[in-house]
Amino acid sequence: MKSRLYLVCLVCVLAFSACWKDVWVNIDIENPVLEINTMLVPDSVIKLRLDATSYLNGMSFRELNQQSDVRLWVNDEFKESLRLEHDAEWEYFYFISDYRLRETDRVRLEARCKGYPDAWVETEVPSLVPIDTFITVLHNDTVSGRIWASCEFRFTDVPAEKNYYAFTVYPEFVYPDSLTDENTPIYNFYPYHLYLVSDPVFKYIPTTIEYLLGEEEEKGTALFFDDSYIDGRTYSIRFSLDFTNPYWGGGYYGLENLDSLKLLLNFSSESLSGYYSNVSHWASKGMLEGNLSEVGLADPVSAYSNVHQGTGFVWGLAVAVWENTLPFPKDSISE
């Protein structure tokens, strides 16, 4: 009886432990393609970096660029073949145009190199959308140790034209006594949380799933929207920045001794939807689906690219900047 029992146990163990199987295969799936990266800014020339996902026949980066041809079309009209430049200091190659871009230009770039598929990309140069006002009030609650800034900015959307916005804030603190020899202040970047949850224009808020995965803070540093709700209107957006250290509650070391705080607001408009939102950290790495794809439960998610038959990222950008310099409040501020 015992031997039968052992036999049954052995069969069960074999059956239920035989779930894993590893298969070694030798496959060649490289499929190298060209990579195009550049930013299109109004009233400037194009500086384009060309690379490849892998090099054919031992080709070097230099040879790849020398054997490549990059052509520029603007508004469906052929303009030029970009010329190759060499930066001797950085040992760097790039293609540059003679043509200076204008707002609303429709740009097409094509890159060709023998052995690779022809890669091409189309996008447009955005119009600048200036900021009307930008108000910042800094708070320092010495009781709770919380330091935050409440902000509001206003801008006017260009009517009829479809605009896409990426809104990012870069807080930089200035130590007044830490100046360079040229009397330039040294900026120090501090971690912060951007709270911008109550405005309806924004496309992103942390979802329930992201709360579950603890990913909601990953997206807290940039926000994206388009003008579908505000087309042609003047619109104000309020937000707050919290510089409180999430681990020990108070402000960061040295922050309370500052004399001033400078906020830089980069406000950009783009011509194609989703550039920033897709290229940013969470989409390229993929959180939930990244994990799922790593264990074979979903297709892998790749970084954003708008280059056809190749890879890379070509985007238009027009930046509006506003700087506020504020005296750092010494006193506690109640709610």
Partner: protein, 790 residues
Amino acid sequence: MILRIRILIILWLIGMCWNRVMATGPIVSFSVRDMPVEQVLLLLEKQTGLQVSFESSLLEQMKPVTLSVKKQTLSVCLYELFQGYDIDWQVTDSYLILKRRRLADYSPKDSIKMVSLQEFVVEADSLRRSFALTNEPGKELLSGNQIRRLPVFMGQPDLIKTLQHLPGVATGTEGLSGMYVRGGNNDENLFLIDGMPVYQINHLGGLFSAFNSDVIDKLDFYKGFFPARYEGRLSSVTDIQTKSGNMQSWHGGFNIGLIQGLLNLEGPLVKDKLSVHVSVRRTWADLLAIPTLAIISKINKETHTGRYSFHDINARMDYRHSDRSLWSLSVFSGDDVFSLTNKVNNNYANAKESNHYKVRWGNLAASLNWRYRLSDHFHTLLTASYTRYRSKLRYSDEEYSYVDDVYKKNSVFSTMVSGIDDGRITAQLEYTPSSKHRIQGGLSARLQAFRPEYEEINQIEESVPTQIRQKNVQRMLGNETVLFVEDRFTPSEPLRIDAGISLSSFYLDRTWYWSLQPRFSLRYLWNERWSAKLAYSRMHQAVHQLPASYLELPTDIWLPSCSGVKPSVSDHVSTGVYFSPNRDYSFSMEGYFKYIQHLADFKPWVNRYPDGMAWQEKLTEGVGRAYGLEWMARKETGKLTGWIGYTLSWSERKFDAYNMGHYFPSRYDNRHKVNIVASYKFNEKIELNASWFLSSGNWMTIVPESQEDWPYLYRNNYQLPFNHRLDLGLNIYRKKKKGRMGIWNISIYNAYCQRNPTIAWAEWSEGTWVKIRQLSLFPIIPSFSYTYKF
């Protein structure tokens, strides 16, 4: 004298009728329960030696039969069998001929009037050949009994896993209830229960289908030709008719399996007028999960508590208002619930934290059907249905702390809802002006409210409450109207043509999407043994499901078509040759080509789950094509029954965003697929069932190690090895007194423990060597269940 003559005539007439009932034909004996009428006729064939012949559509409306006959004449048996139906019969030397009763002969009180043989249109459709020779190409008929007969997983018969054994139906992920019909996607299958559409068709991530096989009366499965009355999905239609309650007496039963139980009850509320049939199925996985989690938490010194459960409720009420008018009300409810709670006390920091999430997803559907026979030529069917699909994900996280005499509270309450409300009213009319035409037409008005992503968050940060509502909280109302007409035209005995057209308009967000969908099928009978068929169908689908993964998760959302992704359209050509050499066997070979436009898929770089990004911006459009050949050999009579099927198929996709815009294999492009399904009845008590399949592996995407940080656009570049699996089942029938019966089912899933991968992923080594890690979740799994019927 005159009075005597009259009495004699009356007695003679009565005697004629009585003879017709009692004295005609050979003697038969059998006892069947819920058996399809076709199989009952096979029994009669066997016992009488007569060959049964009938028009193919004659038995379409008939319910499975429960009948016990002991040494009765054939006529009495047929009277019992067809009472309540407009079917009459004639017995000749070698034939038993069935025919629809003529209007002139019709009398509810007298169902056995003589009809001369010359009036019959006898087709060469003998019973065993009827399916193969006469049906539309790609159509399969299954009964609940056939589904229950197959070997089962965890003691539970499964409709979708039965369909997976048919040629042309790819299984998808091992062990799950996916259905990829002739190169289509999983969301391209239309499931109708008594006319109401069902959106969530699975439980437990796809392990079990949502259809309780005990309530299935009849199932029509279309994969090649689609009659014009079906619309809205590209690849297949599964039209399920549930059982109506017994109008005479109360019956019921229960089933106890390893992780779920089922209760079934049917009977008359008013005899011959009003009946009810209720079936409830519930898992007790939560009874197992709760203590298991408690033990794990205890070991790990955590405080996790959680549970998972699902249930189905099927209810149907039938009301026979008159011989012409029949009402039925069907209700279907199926839900999955999963919850998990975690509480942490941090005494050192004087803080408490608790988080809880709960996911609930499923359908609630109801339909009201009214069948009315205006005359023998006119039949009407009015259907009103409502389906509600919801997926709710709730999350709460609360944190309390008491530091330096300051009480702090941070909390997040978040709710995400995705769902569809689908209401439709359909009026159908069937007109049979002669034996050569059967015309059907109808109008269906549908209102669909889509709510793909609804998000509500209540947040308290340092006592500052905020409430957020996602932008796309508003419902998107889709309005669809479908007008269809079709004619089954039989110009001559061997030739039959089904021609129809469906016109649909879908209105959403100030945009109309029109679609004209012609349907055509031609069948030619060369002789009693050979037939050929040709069919063309254009199908249209205005809703898409966006799956977060290969599993069936509640985060998969249904979306309507929009300006970015137009309604999908498929053109499907199907043709076949069918051969039925004798009583026992039938063979078929079908070929098909399908071209699909406006297929929706994710762009390569977007999240698969709802993340606030507008879903229109996540999708990209492409095309697909699928083609192949399907062979099938059936044996439907005798002790050994079953089929052998082989599929040779290709399924490809083409998206600009992938593979440089070239065609690439779809994930479930299984080149070869072999299915063997067999059932052997040793005697009245013991039945052995087996199913085996062999299929080419699924495709997966391997990203080269050197390009992991690059956008890699070559999808499905590696094919996994062949899958194969043998399932065995043994049914032991124990008859009891008064027609009661106990059934033991013992099943072995994956009998030889083949490690078919449920999931697989790649781990790179050196150079071009890559290790494909395969995880098989379903090794050999024995199970049993007990069913009791009364």
